[in-house]
Symmetry: C2
Subunit: 227 residues, 2 copies
């Protein structure tokens, strides 16, 4: 742990003076007080990236979905549950951000109706239909703001990673998309990612999420310097 | 931490020689590799109870849904994702158990069809329908086994706690149900619970989940001794 703190302290201050806004974790879209739709996301990659940005000297705000991870040192955390709450928190903070990194696995759909009280279970094997509606796309919205920050997206895919990541990058007009195959990263402490930008594809050396996060921060800092 | 270990060491061995099987956490019912239905459950209460049982001298097996909590000392952990996987793991271990405690917030429904690959998002605001089917009731199944262990259920409710907890206890023929109002316990480290058994209602002093867990263990041990 002391070694961790020393490593953190001696990280190059690549983002000194920059203000970073991140989203991390899943969102939870309630059907009732306990049930809901969600995406499986441990939040670890987003929290590692928030920490890496803070270590690099940035002023960091982290909008986090429901995860039980500790807040990284010197990071301002805003806890939210749903995609709509995450969107509101992001839009409130985005004007002050130079960099926006959307790591959260935002649930794409939310139930049309949420019950205030717990729905009682029906018989085993009985069927039910849940009506859902598509949630707003927070990253696309931020990227299309008139004074948009430098926007970084994440693409977690189970197949055709390069195609999906690159088309996400072009569709949302993002300078940078971090792609990873869900088999590799979800829930674990390690990760293997490829960065997609105008210059092409850059595969980071697979490793612990904290090292991957530092690699992403270095890449962002480098892109901002060339701007 | 040393204090924690000493406290653990000096717990009375109320369950010495007993074999306990527990379920904890949520289950995740996939729609595709990243999306799914779930119940919000941090797993903290179930993990605290597994630890309290082990401290009390029991041989403990914990079937855990997707949570990122450390395994308590001396506890055998089986990780599962879905209700069907949890059911299979429980039925495989239950013959060797004297006590079964169903703490998991098992998702009551699972999507009828799960896509092997990530479903691509549709336009914002567009609607979709998810067909779901009711999952098996693991606790009821275990309680109705010919050589059923001593079965303890949990009832998390947002209203009418006593009514629901008591009717759950009678419907599933459980000797003991632990009831808590979801507003009080979910996700937090503290909890406030009421025990329901043939003798009536017993409110435990509200406190940290570890203390509540020890109170529940003492109550179970007491009921078993009177058997």
């Amino acid at each position: 742990e002391l070694f961790d703190e020393l490593t953190a302290f001696f990280q190059p201050k690549l983002l000194a003076g920059r203000r970073v806004l991140l989203t991390a974790g899943p969102t939870f879209e309630p059907l009732d007080p306990v049930r809901g739709l969600t995406n499986s996301s441990s939040g670890k990659m987003g929290f590692a990236l928030a920490r890496a940005c803070a270590e690099a000297g940035a002023e960091v705000t982290l909008v986090a979905g429901p995860v039980s991870l500790p807040t990284p040192a010197a990071v301002t955390r805003i806890d939210v549950q749903t995609a709509l709450e995450m969107r509101a928190a992001v839009l409130k903070s985005v004007a002050a951000a130079d960099i926006f990194i959307g790591v959260a696995a935002v649930a794409d759909y939310r139930p049309v109706q949420a019950s205030e009280h717990k729905i009682k279970k029906t018989a085993v094997g009985s069927a039910l239909t849940i009506e859902v509606t598509a949630n707003p796309d927070i990253l696309a919205e931020v990227a299309s703001l008139p004074a948009a920050p430098f926007c970084v997206g994440f693409a977690a895919e189970s197949q055709n990673l390069a195609d999906y990541a690159e088309s996400k990058r072009l569709a949302k007009k993002l300078p940078l998309v971090v792609g990873n195959l869900v088999q590799d990263g979800l829930g674990s402490d390690g990760n293997s990612v490829i960065l997609f930008d105008d210059a092409g594809q850059h595969k980071l050396t697979p490793g612990p999420k904290m090292e991957i996060a530092r690699g992403i921060v270095a890449h962002i800092a480098n892109m901002l310097e060339q701007d």
